[in-house]
């Protein structure tokens, strides 16, 4: 319980700090700055902590719309897949298998290589990597919920489908979604960071988390503080998400 509170407080603190840093950090074009190595600063002489928090804010700005699309689209598709049309179910499941069979990072790389100036590479690649598993989760949840005794009982007592949805299925789905939300968020953050770490996206206006970590990796011997200051918040964020996810599921 204490760990859960700590995780929540950490997430709130991170959100506040990153919002403040996002306001403070101006648009700095790194290649115009002189290279130097000072403890606490990156190779372009910018404060690592400030940059990291600003990058975290940028990550959230990118990820919140993706999260919304993921949840709404997954739910709609899962509703369709879990319906009673076997042919439709077969086709939809095959499409999901197709997306699961394609390597997600390859798609990100391919998009980045074919369309170097395309701003939505991260969004598209992230959606391709996250949607199949989220749709499957919602599908299995809906199939299971529909076969529950209380749902059958409600139908037998003459309740219409809308009533069953509003009073039985939706509350269960809301709780279930809340319990997997930290897990989905953790995946989204990791995918977004990994894609920008690989450097396939166009040079952004603001520094991204993945690019900072990549810089830290390149200068691990000369300036280990870059990886430490940009990597540690990511590890703490992941730990908070895992703790929340575990507690919600318990």
């Amino acid at each position: 319980m204490r760990l859960r509170t700590l995780a929540r407080r950490h997430l709130i603190l991170l959100a506040v700090l990153s919002a403040l840093a996002r306001i403070r950090v101006d648009r700095i074009e790194a290649h115009h700055l002189e290279r130097s190595l000072k403890p606490g600063y990156d190779t372009f002489g910018r404060s690592c902590l400030e940059l990291t928090f600003a990058a975290i804010a940028n990550t959230w700005i990118t990820l919140i719309p993706i999260l919304m699309i993921t949840l709404v689209f997954s739910f709609a598709v899962a509703l369709m897949v879990s319906g009673n049309h076997p042919r439709m179910r077969f086709l939809s499941r095959s499409t999901l298998d197709l997306f699961s069979a394609l390597p997600g990072f390859m798609i990100a790389l391919a998009l980045g290589a074919a369309f170097p100036d395309f701003r939505f590479t991260v969004v598209l690649a992230t959606l391709i990597m996250v949607l199949p598993s989220t749709i499957r989760y919602f599908e299995s949840f809906l199939l299971k919920a529909r076969s529950e005794e209380f749902v059958h009982a409600s139908h037998s007592l003459g309740a219409n489908p809308v009533h069953v949805w509003v009073h039985h299925l939706f509350p269960a789905l809301r709780d279930s979604t809340l319990s997997i939300l930290p897990f989905i968020l953790a995946r989204l953050v990791l995918i977004e960071t990994s894609i920008s770490f690989l450097g396939v996206t166009p040079a952004p206006e603001h520094e991204t988390w993945g690019r900072l970590i990549a810089q830290g990796k390149d200068y691990l011997i000369e300036a280990p503080w870059i990886l430490a200051l940009s990597g540690l918040p990511l590890c703490l964020l992941m730990a908070s998400f895992h703790l929340l996810s575990r507690d919600e599921q318990n």
Binding site: S94, T95, F105, M106, L236, H242
Partner: protein, 277 residues
Amino acid sequence: MKGLLRILLVFSLVWIIARSAVFLLPGDPAEFLVHESLVQLDTPELREKMDLDRPALERIFSLPRNRSLIRNEKASQLLIRAWSRTLVLAALALLIALPATFIFLFLRFQGGLRGRFSEASTLILASVPLLIAGPILLRYVPLSNPLLPALTLSLYLVPFWSRTLSRKLDARLPMSSVEGSRALGFPELNIFTRDLIAPALGGFLAFFGSQLGYLLNGSILVETAFQWNGVGSLLGEAVLSRDFPVIEMTLITSALNTLITQQVGYALQTWWDPRIT
């Protein structure tokens, strides 16, 4: 039968995507590749080498050219070499990750201080992403290839597997005969293996099928960080240098590999526990 039909359908879709991906390039694909990639060919030659002189439909439904545009080698040879290296990495990662997962699960099953240690360790390991663990291990752990990338890969797999499996075991625990076996005085390891792991193994096997597919397709992050020339690294290089014959062949074989390992997982699950369909 249905599984086979689905494999065929998905494989056909992957084939179509892989063979038609070149048409998604902006403008004339051949012109684009000559100007934007490392290909050292002129436009007509490239058009011929990539079957772009054929009608689009004919190209999509024909076999890909087996020649890399960048390296003067057959794409299939490159792929076989990369597969063999990825296979070594996957086998080593499995050798490390499977026993480690078993140990973490067993410690968690024992509860008390050991259980807490197991939970804390998996939480810490799960919180360090590959893109941070890779460079740190590369810098500070005195191990050589392929042990180091295999260790990094297993550091990602162990917490993921043990957290997923521990949830399944927790759900199964109330229905198991663990309490009865404990009352009869059986050793803890026997109880854990026979009363908890063995009955739950069916579900595990299907899960491992999909994980095996992931491992065999190579991890771009790990292979790039450790300069291990496996499938992930080959695919990454091919995409960045727009070597389309290699991209097409790698994509098709990776998808086939994922589909087959998934079905193998399901088959093993049904064989182990026929009640699961």
